[in-house]
């Protein structure tokens, strides 16, 4: 008998008390919790919660965005930036040509990305109640590694379209078959005497731009 049958056989014997023919999906499951905690202003709450976990939050209109992105990269002294294939070209329009553009492609290995300063992406969904941005590897976000290896991530969130109140509402918008990364503030650790330190392995600086009309 192989291990699979051994384990499943043990599970079935262990559950001898469960009535045969009980169908779990037919049994009611009480979900008395709230779908949303109804924040008065979800975009404002998103900004507050992001800032609470030390992300740097900025606001811009479509007209202001290119200037803001250029300024954020310059502040960081970035000399190179990774660009997802489907990033709206206008977003980097004011970034000087000296800043090298690195395409998100198969050849952009982790080792190569280790030499790149910044990355600019959009996002799939942002969650107000938890201060979270979720990436789903969409065209304006790219492969998972490009938002992981460079030390600086600029994430643009279209508001209010991409913002949901809560975790339950976010899951409904997301497709589980895509690789998903939920980001709530920059990488952090509290492993040493519970002192919170920002920036261990992920990007140490996270700029979130709320892009509105």
């Amino acid at each position: 008998m192989n291990a699979r049958e051994v384990v499943l056989g043990r599970v079935r014997r262990a559950l001898a008390d469960v009535p045969r023919g009980e169908e779990p999906e037919r049994e009611p499951l009480e979900r008395g919790y709230l779908e949303s905690h109804q924040p008065a202003d979800p975009v404002e709450l998103l900004a507050e919660n992001l800032a609470d976990y030390r992300a740097l939050v900025h606001r811009a209109t479509a007209g202001e965005l290119p200037g803001l992105v250029a300024r954020l990269l310059a502040e960081r002294g970035a000399s190179s930036v990774v660009v997802p294939a489907g990033l709206p070209p206008g977003w980097l329009a004011e970034v000087p040509d000296e800043v090298r553009r690195v395409a998100d492609e198969e050849a952009a290995t982790a080792r190569l990305l280790d030499g790149v300063d910044s990355v600019v992406t959009g996002c799939a969904v942002a969650i107000a109640e938890t201060g979270t941005v979720v990436l789903d590897a969409g065209p304006d976000q790219g492969r998972r590694r490009i938002t992981l290896v460079p030390d600086h991530h600029v994430c643009v969130v279209a508001v209010p379209e991409r913002v949901v109140d809560s975790v339950p509402l976010a899951l409904r918008r997301l497709d589980p078959s895509r690789p998903l990364t939920w980001i709530s503030g920059p990488s952090a650790t509290s492993d040493i005497e519970l002192d919170r330190v920002e920036g261990v392995h992920g990007p140490r600086r996270l700029d979130v731009v709320l892009l509105g009309a």
């Binding site: 599970v11 198969e106 952090a188 492993d191």
Partner: protein
Amino acid sequence: MSGGTYLGMPAFPEAARAATRDERLRGNLRHATHTIRDKRARAVAELPDWAELRAAGAAIKDRTLRHLDGYLERLEEAVTAAGGQVHWAADAAQANEIVTRLVLRTGEREVVKVKSMATQELGLNAALERAGVRAYETDLAELIVQLGDDLPSHILVPAIHRNRREIRDIFAERMGDWGRPAPEGLTDEPADLAEAARLHLRQKFLDAKVGISGANFMVAETGTMVVVESEGNGRMCLTLPETLISVVGIEKVVPTWRDLEVFLQLLPRSSTAERMNPYTSMWTGTSDGDGPSTFHLVLVDNGRTDTLADEVGRQALRCIRCSACLNVCPVYERAGGHAYGSAYPGPIGAILTPQLRGVDTALDASLPYASSLCGACYEVCPVAIDIPEVLVRLRERVVEGGEATVGGTRVRIRPARGHAAERAAMRAARWALDHPGALRAGQRVAGRMRRLQPRRLPGPGAAWSRTRDVPPLPPESFRSWWRRTRGESGEAGR
């Protein structure tokens, strides 16, 4: 090199006696547990529907456990359909053998690891080492533990027993043996220590061809795996290597994608006391050109089905490893994590370890007693595990013996030695309470001799009275007082 071992550790009381004498350890633990528990209370208070989330979390886990076979089959099907390969392991030896074989097949001799309770329980690192494979722990606290040849002492913050000075010394002395040495002039500032870890591990992440992880949740419906973390080492291990091997206990499955809406609210607030942890990764099989091209899922039993067989004890399998119960436990706060002698310390360890491993050893048989039954653990548990109820159940198993499932087989457990005095006392009490005449005579004699009552009990009672005052004997028993004041019939009070 792979750290210490839990094998052959003394029973909880002996280990705890040493730990409670360590002033610095107690200071570190007190500070840490009180800090997290206060933060957790604030994070939980933000959600007015916490009680409903908790009830739903418990209900989803119970539903899963009652039909675990069906959900595991569905999970296997979904993972396979998404390009993953599923393996099954009945015990630790099988799981370690499978992982070792999968690693060796890649031709690699080094792997990077995300913190995983399951692989610690299995002793995977030691097994890999015997096969000539070096496993690098990449979580900061796990790195501290690994470099220090130490054992984890907390589920969430495994190096909670170490202070910054000790961590600095471990990094300065040991990092060079494992890879890039610590920078010259390393200070004991947490930010500097974190930077040293970042530099030390960066090359390993960039070179890694094989990653090993656990998972917090597996979704049966979609085949999706979920890992929650803070530092980004998890993302590194889950996305940069070519081969990913996830080793997960069978109880980590949840039925539907929607069910995550409950656990992704319960877990971060109970664990790190945050609205959401910095990073959560979700993946389903493999994706073209993004992340590992080969994904193996190893489903592990290792005592979980034995636990499932006990209708009272099975609720321990609801556990989502948040560690809130450790942080409120008066026993954990004083004894620390190592005294529990397994990967699972604290109240949850006291009910999980004796069920996963059985109560054969003195250590495992002592764990159900590592509690004052105060119930604080039950109060904070986000999936409402009634830990005191299971502790009492396990104490009964230790003292009385009886039916249990071990290694998949129904067996009769013999009463543990060392509890003979308790059993004898209980038998005597039962006889005396059944014979009112004898009880009356005994109480009368005791009342008259009460001046001679010792402060410490002799013989087998000595252990009990070493840490407790012997209650003074009253001059007369309640029964005789009742008879004297209310009359033989007991009618006087009416």
